[in-house]
Amino acid sequence: MEEGIITAIRIVPLEHYILLSFLLFSIGAAGVVFRRNTIIILMCLELMFNSVNLLLTAFSAHHSDPRAQVFVFFIMLVAAAEVTVGLSILVMMKRNVDSVDVNQLNRLKG
């Protein structure tokens, strides 16, 4: 990886990154909790994951340690896998209850 980018990243103080990714993470989490459309919820999940990726990258830059970036790739991979599964499940749901509203599904309770 090119030195320039690292330094570029380092210019911004770490706290900002942390704050930003916290913000993104919270937005994601809030979205997951409060939105009812499954598609959007999936996107919010992505958002959460990516905020983490951002954070990791920032950390790795600041610790000047590449392992975190490797981890980021793993995360992307896993996220992809999850989304695939998620979407397939979503299709199944659509088939069962003709809707993508998460709260349509509540036969199991109590």
């Binding site: 959460m48 954070l55 950390f59 392992r67 975190a68 981890f71 793993f74 896993v78 199944m92 749901m93």
Partner: protein, 471 residues
């Protein structure tokens, strides 16, 4: 539990080959699915698992790092791996009968279980947080699919959906936690992190604390500790019984192994300790109390599983050398009892045409006395009545928590244990009450009979001679 120093050691074939073997096994099973030959599938699956068993059991006390020291296949890991493999074998045996009626996609079911098992092996041997994360995902993703295994069943679908959403949500927290820990310690390596935590003792590091906090939350989700338990009742009930059994045994075992491996040698900040205590009390309370009102057996088992999570967490409190020993014993015997019970449930459910109310056990003693007795033994074991393994397990947990000085937490646990006995006894009562009107008899295939007997016998033998199940 010794940890390897990070230095590169001689490449050992056997341990790694377990993972390789299992992955191959999964693929092979998928291929076998093409020639829709069930007997072969289960057979191959079991053979493969047994091979894995041998490989794990071989040169027992060798502890060698793998993959550049991100995995540590030590006694701890081996022991839990063995339990998981054995239980999976039992489930496969059960599967032969369970999937007998199903038309297609049987091979996928087996294969996914194997994959999930790999995840389990990974997380009970990790020494690097990355592996922890990957392992958990490898463990979970197949489960999301398995939970929805009954494509034509609404409930199964709902279960899969809920499991997936909450699972990924939790993964998010886990990831955040890991990232923060990394941020604080500049390393994913457990040893390093432990070193950091020891250095930190007394001091404060917000990032690290928060990181630990979220990580634990993420793992706690997997073991279904309150308040991260919401998924388990719904998923347990909705998922196909075989998968429910798999989740409440293999997955639970793996998750706990990982959980303890994570915090075992950490110098937990006081805040986290408190969190654990509160979590334990809540889990004990909610699991048992709500279980009182369950009439659906699978849901009952879900809450009882939460309750047992509570007891297991009790063994986490403080730092006691005996904890891994106890965890191992508890989980092993718990798995045995649970597998057996779920098989009995399936059989009774068939006879009752899909009803899952505990009433379906009625008349069991009339029709199949021995099965009834085995059921009794397994239930008593879960309830923790003496001379069953469950008693020894609970007893040892109490010993630990009292030794660590958690007097009141233990009192709560004891009270909750009484509550627990109540709902198990209700099931016993059903099983041993005579059936009034004539109903479809409960048929037990020889293979199932064998598995149930094994489980029933195991809980007593291990209860009388606990020494047999040692790490």
């Amino acid at each position: 539990m010794r940890r390897c120093n990070n230095s590169f050691q001689a490449y050992r074939y056997t341990e790694m080959s377990v993972l390789v073997l299992l992955s191959v096994l999964g693929v092979v099973l998928l291929y076998l699915g093409l020639f829709n030959n069930r007997g072969a599938i289960a057979g191959v699956g079991i053979a493969g698992l047994l091979a894995a068993f041998v490989l794990v059991a071989a040169d027992w006390h060798l502890e060698s790092p793998l993959f550049n020291g991100i995995i540590q296949f030590d006694t701890y890991a081996r022991s839990f791996s063995l339990v998981m493999i054995v239980v999976t074998v039992l489930l496969f045996l059960f599967g032969i009968d369970y999937y007998a009626k199903v038309k297609e996609n049987v091979a996928e079911q087996y294969a996914l279980m194997v994959f999930s098992l790999i995840g389990g092996l990974l997380i009970c041997s990790f020494t690097n947080l990355v592996v922890l994360f990957l392992g958990i995902e490898i463990l979970s993703i197949p489960l999301y699919i398995l939970a929805g295994g009954k494509r034509d069943s609404f409930r199964s679908g709902e279960a899969a959906f809920k499991y997936f959403l909450q699972g990924s949500f939790a993964s998010g927290f886990l990831l955040m936690g890991l990232a923060l820990i990394y941020g604080a310690t500049a390393s994913f390596d457990l040893a390093a992190i432990e070193a950091f935590s020891t250095a930190l003792v007394g001091g404060q590091d917000m990032i690290f604390l928060l990181g630990l906090f979220l990580t634990i939350a993420g793992v706690a989700f997997k073991v279904a500790a309150v308040p991260f338990h919401f998924w388990s009742p719904d998923v347990y009930e909705g998922a196909p019984t075989l998968i429910t059994a798999f989740m409440s045994t293999v997955v639970k075992t793996a998750a706990f192994a990982a959980f303890y491996r994570l915090i075992a040698n950490l110098q937990l900040p006081g805040a986290v300790e408190t969190m654990l205590v509160v979590m334990t009390i809540c889990t004990l309370f909610l699991g048992n109390i709500v279980a009182l009102r369950q009439t659906q057996f699978k849901r009952l088992m879900a809450y009882s599983s939460i309750a047992h999570t509570g007891f297991l967490l009790l063994a986490f409190l403080g730092t006691d050398a005996r904890t891994p020993e106890v965890l191992f014993y508890y989980l092993g015997t718990y798995a045995m009892a649970t597998v057996g019970l779920f098989i009995v449930l399936t059989l009774a459910k068939r006879a009752a045409l899909g009803d899952e109310n505990i009433r379906i056990f009625r008349g069991l003693f009339q029709s199949n006395p021995w099965i009834a007795v085995a059921t009794l033994l397994m239930l008593l074991s879960l309830a923790g009545i003496p001379l069953t393994a469950g008693f020894v397990a609970k007893y040892r947990v109490f010993v630990i928590s009292l030794t660590q000085g958690y007097l009141w937490t233990t009192v709560v646990a004891v009270v909750m244990a009484i509550v627990g006995i109540y709902y198990y006894i209700l099931v016993v009562r059903e099983a041993f009450t005579a059936q009034e009107q004539e109903s479809k008899p409960i048929v037990v295939a020889p293979l199932n009979w064998l598995v149930i007997s094994i489980c029933g016998a195991a809980v007593v033998v291990l209860g009388v001679m606990p020494g047999l199940l040692r790490m």
